[in-house]
C-alpha cells in the first residue's frame, strides 16, 4: 500500500469563518511564542480572500519574513495595503482587500500627546521632557496601552470591515485589557497629587515632611522635581485619557468585538491560555475561539502505527532481511538502521502526541470553540503559507 496523507479522524470541527464574518474586531491573545502573530495574519488574509471588504491586521512584532510578506518594512505606523500580487503568487483571487499595520509605540505616543495636549507649548514641553521620552520608548506597559488606543482610533475611522489585532506579549496576559484604565488611574491618583504638592506650593505640612525628606535622600531633589514637572504637564491631558479609556473599554465589551486565545498544547503556554480564557469569560468579554497551534498529527496516535513502529524498532534486522534485496541505495545494515530509527522516532513523537491529546481533551473551558492547527513542516513566511494556515482556521 502506498503511503498517503491521512485525514484527521474528527467529526464536526469548529472554525473561525463565522466569527470573522460577523465581528468588526477580533483580538488574538495568549502566551508568547505560540504563533499568535502568524495566526492573526492568517485569519485576516483568509477573511480578505473569502469575505471581501477591507480587512486590517494590526500587528505588534512580526517576524521579518512575515513582515515582508505583508509588505511591512517596519517603519512607522501607517496602514498599508498588501498588494494583490501577493495573493496572486498563492493562486488566490481575493474577494476583498488586505491591509496591514505595525504598532510603533513611540510614534503612537507622540500622536496621542499631539491629540490631547491643551496647547502647543504644553505639547512641546511634554515631547521634550526626558521622563516622557523614557516612558514612551521603554515603559513596558505603555505598549499595552498604545495597542488598545491605536485599535480604538483605527476602528473609529470606520475604514475597515474587520480588524484583526495581534496583542503585545505581556507578563500577564490580561495586562493589555486593563491598560487604558490603569493609565487613566495613573494620572488621577491621589498619591500622585501628593507627590506633586511640594513642588507646586512650598507649603509642606508637618505630617508629610519626613516622607519628602526620605524621598529626597533616596532620589535626589532634582529627580523628584523632574517627575513632578512631568506629571503636572501630563495632568493637563487627564480628561482626554479618561474619556479614551472608557471608550476603549466599551469597545472591547461590545458585541462587535471577539477574542481568540492562541496557544500550543505544551504545558506552560496551555496553562496560561486556560487562565486567560477563563478571565475573559469572568469579564463577560466574548471568547470566540481557542486556537491550538502546532498540534502533532493524529496518525501519531494510531494504534496500528505503534505496533508497526515497535516491530521495526525491536526486530529491525528481521524486517531489513526481508526488504534488503529490493533496496538498491543501501546495504542491509543501513536498511536495518533506518527501520529501527523510524520506529524509534515514531514512538518518541507518539509520547508527545498522546500527552497533547490528553491535554486537549482536558481543555474544558470552551470545547465548542476549539480549533486545532497541525504542525506545519516549514515556517510560514509568505501569503501562500498564511492562506494554508488560514484554511485550517477557516474549516471546510
Amino acid at each position: 500500500m502506498p503511503p498517503r496523507r491521512r485525514k484527521a479522524p474528527e467529526g464536526r470541527r469548529f472554525s473561525l469563518d463565522g466569527l470573522l464574518a460577523s465581528r468588526e474586531i477580533v483580538v488574538a491573545c495568549g502566551p508568547g511564542g505560540v504563533g499568535k502573530t502568524t495566526t492573526a495574519a492568517a485569519a485576516a488574509a483568509m477573511a480578505a480572500a473569502r469575505l471581501g471588504g477591507k480587512v486590517l491586521v494590526l500587528t505588534v512584532d512580526p517576524a521579518r519574513r512575515l513582515a515582508d510578506a505583508l509588505g511591512l518594512d517596519g517603519i512607522g505606523n501607517a496602514e498599508r495595503r498588501v498588494p494583490a500580487e501577493a495573493f496572486g503568487s498563492a493562486r488566490v483571487k481575493p474577494m476583498g482587500e488586505l491591509w496591514a499595520a505595525m504598532l510603533d509605540t513611540k510614534e503612537s505616543w507622540d500622536d496621542l500627546v499631539r491629540l490631547h495636549a491643551p496647547d502647543a507649548r504644553t505639547r512641546d514641553e511634554i515631547l521634550s521632557n526626558p521622563l516622557y521620552r523614557n516612558i514612551s520608548g521603554r515603559f513596558v506597559q505603555s505598549h499595552d496601552y498604545i495597542a488598545m488606543e491605536r485599535l480604538f482610533e483605527i476602528h473609529a475611522t470606520g475604514a475597515y470591515d474587520l480588524i484583526v489585532v495581534d496583542t503585545p506579549p505581556t507578563r500577564n496576559a490580561l495586562d493589555f485589557l486593563d491598560a487604558p484604565e490603569r493609565m487613566a488611574e495613573f494620572f488621577s491618583s491621589r498619591l500622585l497629587r501628593w507627590l506633586i504638592v511640594p513642588y507646586r506650593s512650598r507649603l509642606v505640612n508637618l505630617a508629610s515632611r519626613p516622607f519628602y525628606q526620605v524621598a529626597d535622600r533616596i532620589l535626589g531633589t532634582q529627580f523628584l522635581e523632574d517627575i513632578a514637572q512631568f506629571f503636572i504637564l501630563f495632568q493637563s491631558m487627564y480628561d482626554g485619557f479618561v474619556e479614551r479609556a472608557r471608550a476603549v473599554h466599551r469597545l472591547m465589551a461590545d458585541r462587535r468585538t471577539s477574542f481568540i486565545v492562541v496557544s500550543t498544547l505544551e504545558a506552560v503556554p496551555l496553562r496560561e491560555a486556560e487562565f486567560f480564557a477563563q478571565s475573559l469569560m469572568d469579564r463577560r468579554l466574548h471568547l470566540g475561539a481557542i486556537v491550538l497551534n502546532k498540534v502533532l498529527p493524529d496518525y501519531l496516535r494510531d494504534p496500528g502505527g505503534a505496533t508497526v513502529a515497535e516491530r521495526l524498532r525491536d526486530r529491525a534486522e528481521e524486517v531489513a532481511g526481508a526488504l534488503a534485496p529490493s533496496i538498491t541505495s543501501g546495504d542491509a545494515d543501513q536498511v536495518r538502521r533506518v527501520l529501527a530509527e523510524i520506529g524509534r522516532s515514531y514512538l518518541d513523537f507518539r509520547v508527545v502526541a498522546r500527552r497533547e491529546a490528553e491535554q486537549r481533551s482536558e481543555l474544558a473551558t470552551v470545547p465548542e470553540a476549539l480549533v486545532s492547527v497541525p504542525y506545519f513542516d516549514t515556517d510560514i513566511y509568505d501569503m501562500a503559507g498564511l492562506l494554508r494556515l488560514g484554511q485550517q482556521l477557516w474549516g471546510p
Binding site: 506579549p169 526620605v214 508497526v308 533506518v338 513523537f349
Partner: protein, 321 residues
C-alpha cells in the same frame, strides 16, 4: 575563581541572568543551571523575577517569597518583590526609622518606578548584586525577564545615572556597575529554540546587550534540538522505503500498515531540517567566542523536578562537567 582576563566556566561566575523569548524554556534552563551548580557543591540561589510560581512548581515545593528558602542541599529559591527589596534596601542603607512610613513610600515608589524605568529595575538588579557582594551564595541564578525587558533591567544603573543626579540611589550605582560589568562575575545566558522567532530575538538581543549594556553574554543555550534521524546515505534508503512497491513489501514484513510510521519519519526529518537552517542562522549571528550549548528535545511525559534533572544532566554533558 578564575583570574581577570580569562574566560571563566559558566558556573564559575557569581551571577547569571537567564533570559529568553516566552515559551522557549527559560525557567527550565535557569532551574537546571541552578541545580547543576548546587550538585557541583556551590551554594546556589535561584530567583524568579516575574513571580509566576513556575520555579516553585518545577521543584515541587510551596510558593517562593523574597526570603530565600533552601529546597535541596545547596539550593535556595526566592522570588523578587520590589517592595520587599526597597524595604531591605532602606533598612540596610538609611538606618533611620522609616519603617512606619514605608507603606505610602512604597506606593509612591510604584508611581516613580512606573514613570522612570530604572528605579524598579535597580531594586531588582541591586538585590542580586548585593547578594553577590555579601557572598551569601557562590552563585546567584536569575530567572530573569523575557527578552523584551532584560536590556532595560541590565542597563538600569546607567539609566539611573542619566536621570538621577544626586541622592542615595545615585551613590549606589557605581558598585552595581562594577559587578555587572565584570565578565568573570556576571554573565547573561540567552535561552532559545531552533525556531524562527526565538532565533531572531536571540540575535537581536545579543546585539543590544553588546551595545546598550556592560554585561557579558556568557552563553546561548539552544533548547529542544531534534535528533538527526539518518546518517550519511540513509536518507535515500528511507526514500526508497516510501516507494509504493517497497512500502507494500514493508507492510508484509512489518505485519501492519507502515504509513503512519513513514509519515511521522518524514515529519521528523522536515522539522529537523527547518530547525537546522535556523541553527545555522543563529551561529552566524552570534559572536563565535560565545559558547553555544545544545539541549535535546525531551520526548517525555514531563514534568517537575525529574525534567529539571534531565535538563541539568544534558547541560552538565555540554559543559563537560
Amino acid at each position: 575563581m578564575t583570574g581577570p582576563g580569562a574566560v571563566p566556566g559558566l558556573l564559575d561566575r557569581r551571577l547569571l541572568f537567564v533570559t529568553g523569548k516566552g515559551g522557549v524554556g527559560k525557567t527550565t534552563i535557569a532551574a537546571a543551571l541552578a541545580l547543576l551548580a548546587a550538585e557541583g557543591g556551590r551554594r546556589t540561589l535561584l530567583c524568579e523575577v516575574d513571580a509566576k510560581g513556575d520555579v516553585a512548581a518545577y521543584f515541587e515545593t510551596g510558593p517562593t517569597s523574597f526570603t530565600p528558602r533552601q529546597v535541596l542541599p545547596g539550593l535556595s529559591l526566592m522570588s523578587m518583590d520590589t517592595e520587599a527589596s526597597l524595604r531591605e534596601y532602606l533598612r540596610l542603607n538609611l538606618r533611620i526609622p522609616v519603617v512606619g512610613r514605608i507603606g505610602p513610600l512604597a506606593k509612591v515608589f510604584d508611581f516613580v518606578a512606573t514613570a522612570a524605568p530604572g528605579v524598579r529595575e535597580i531594586l531588582t538588579v541591586g538585590k542580586f548584586c548585593w547578594e553577590v557582594r555579601e557572598r551569601h551564595y557562590d552563585l546567584v541564578v536569575v530567572d530573569a525577564s523575557a527578552t523584551g525587558h532584560i536590556v532595560g533591567q541590565l542597563s538600569a544603573p546607567q539609566a539611573i545615572n542619566d536621570l538621577v543626579k544626586v541622592g542615595l540611589i545615585r551613590s549606589q550605582t557605581d558598585w552595581l556597575v562594577d559587578i555587572l560589568s565584570d565578565p568573570a562575575v556576571t554573565g547573561l545566558v540567552i535561552a532559545t529554540t531552533p525556531e524562527e522567532m526565538p532565533v531572531n530575538e536571540t540575535i537581536e538581543l545579543a546585539g543590544r546587550v553588546r551595545d546598550e549594556t556592560t554585561v557579558a553574554l556568557a552563553a546561548v543555550i539552544v533548547n529542544r534540538v531534534l535528533p538527526e534521524l539518518f546518517g550519511r546515505g540513509e536518507e535515500q534508503v528511507f526514500e526508497e522505503l516510501c516507494r509504493p512497491a517497497i512500502a507494500a513489501e514493508l507492510q508484509r514484513a512489518a505485519r501492519g500498515d507502515p504509513t503512519p510510521v513513514l509519515d511521522a519519519a518524514r515529519l521528523a526529518v522536515t522539522l529537523r531540517r527547518t530547525r537546522a537552517t535556523h541553527l545555522e542562522r543563529l551561529r552566524a549571528g552570534i559572536d563565535p567566542e560565545v559558547p553555544m550549548l545544545y539541549l535535546p528535545f525531551l520526548f517525555t511525559r514531563l514534568h517537575g523536578v525529574r525534567t529539571i534533572r534531565q535538563v541539568a544532566a544534558s547541560l552538565g554533558e555540554e559543559l563537560g562537567s
